[in-house]
């Protein structure tokens, strides 16, 4: 699940836990000094609170702290909504104003934001070796099962995918004119060529072709470095079904795109 969606789903629960545990700690702490009243139900509650106060306070403080940590780790939904809006605007600027692509469906040309993590919580062979993980994507379609790519600090040459290579090289990586793998039984040479130029393995391509009934549709990619306070944070990957999108040529010079990138860098300090 994208970080953006997770934030929307989990944020309200974490808020309940935080305020609920705070309230419980307040009530139990206050009950420690209270005299036990004669009212039967209330007296038993206060006696229970006084008797169990030591572990209730510890547990609720821990739960409140943990929910606060998770909240700031995942990022507030408000920030993620702005990130989503910037990605949509970025996509509009690159593809929505191009005569060849403006009529196309939203999911034909996408922008995905990847974040680099040293550790990835997943059943993978090397979860600790460094990964670039998708955290947000433009539009409202194709938001599940987005691939993560290995990107190790110790072995940058082995970084996979355009996202991994962009992070590892700290350069913008542009790949245009990839072979068409959406046809039935594409030639073996095309699969090898695609894998080599997109910085993935042949096996990865074959797996994707098995899971996607229509094969691999992406024909061009552009990876853009994202830094936060001078530290490489991740990569923004533009993928398109058009093999040579004209506006992909000068993304670095477009003042609007520079502004979006600038806002994104500042916004990502908080997520």
């Amino acid at each position: 699940m994208l970080r953006q969606e997770r934030s929307e789903k989990v944020n309200s629960y974490l808020q309940y836990v935080k305020y609920g545990s705070g309230g419980i700690v307040l009530f139990v702490s206050a009950s420690l000094k209270a005299n036990v009243p004669d009212i039967p139900f209330l007296s038993s509650v206060i006696v229970h609170c006084q008797y169990n106060a030591w572990w209730i306070i510890i547990l609720c403080t821990f739960a409140g702290g943990l929910s606060q940590y998770l909240n700031s780790h995942i990022g507030s939904p408000g920030n993620w909504r702005i990130v989503q809006h910037i990605l949509d605007q970025y996509r509009e600027e690159v593809f929505g104003k191009d005569e060849n692509t403006k009529e196309d469906a939203e999911h034909f040309h996408r922008i995905t934001l990847f974040k680099h993590f040293k550790w990835r919580w997943a059943l993978e062979r090397w979860p600790w070796s460094g990964w670039v993980v998708p955290v947000a994507r433009s539009g409202s379609r194709t938001k599940t099962n987005i691939q993560c790519f290995p990107a190790s600090k110790e072995r940058p040459d082995d970084a996979e995918g355009v996202a991994g290579q962009t992070w590892a090289r700290n350069r913008e990586v542009k790949v245009c004119g990839l072979p068409d793998l959406s046809i039935d039984n594409p030639p073996e040479n095309d699969i090898i060529e695609y894998a080599k130029k997109a910085f993935v393995t042949d096996e990865w391509i074959r797996n994707r072709m098995r899971t996607n009934r229509r094969g691999l549709q992406c024909r061009s990619l552009l990876g853009i470095c994202i830094e936060v306070k001078g530290v490489p944070w991740g990569a923004l990957v533009i993928d398109s079904r058009n093999p040579e999108p004209s506006r992909l040529k000068n993304t670095t010079k477009n003042p609007k795109l520079k502004t979006y990138k600038d806002i994104l860098s500042r916004l990502l300090e908080k997520v």
Binding site: R169, R171, V173, K174, P179, K197, C225, T252, K253, S265
Partner: protein
């Protein structure tokens, strides 16, 4: 404070690396990160510190903390704490001990020399493109950049 002088960002294209096509139609290029391309440069004289200061402006990173990196008795680089990107050059005018008429030429030479040294022995090899682009920016805006020094020479 002097105005920012816009730099030609096309210089970065010279640093684009390409994978050999090997008869393939697929084009793979590695372009310089836009964070490393200086957008603007300015030079100013700080009367209190007796320093001539050159500053570079980049996208998105103006909030990166910086640290001074002394190069010799006269020149100090101001680099990003995390990225080692070149954010500024401080030249100690007092320590140079030159006549007012020679000031501009002397400072220009000092800056050129230290930037060349930086490219030869980079603080961070990952930022070599940035150092090269700042050198380009300095030579491109040479005349306007050092103009505060002409005024200083006249006032001395």
């Amino acid at each position: 404070m002097s105005i920012w002088l816009q730099v030609n960002t096309n210089n970065a294209e010279e640093l684009t690396k390409r994978l050999p096509p090997e008869g393939s139609k697929v084009k793979v290029e590695f372009l310089v990160s836009s964070y490393d391309i200086p957008e603007a440069v300015r030079g100013s004289y700080n009367k209190e510190k007796c320093q001539f200061v050159i500053e570079f402006r980049y996208i998105g990173n103006s909030n990166e903390p910086t640290k001074p990196q002394p190069q010799d008795d006269y020149v100090t680089f101001v680099v990003g704490k995390n990225s080692s990107r070149l954010y500024g050059i401080e030249i100690d005018v007092k320590a140079l001990k030159v006549e007012a008429v020679e000031l501009r030429v002397k400072i220009k030479d000092e800056v050129k020399k230290t930037i060349n040294n930086l490219i030869q022995r980079p603080i961070n090899r990952l930022r070599l493109d940035n150092y090269w682009l700042t050198q380009k920016a300095l030579s491109e805006k040479e005349d306007e950049l050092y103009s505060p020094l002409s005024e200083l020479s006249r006032s001395r």
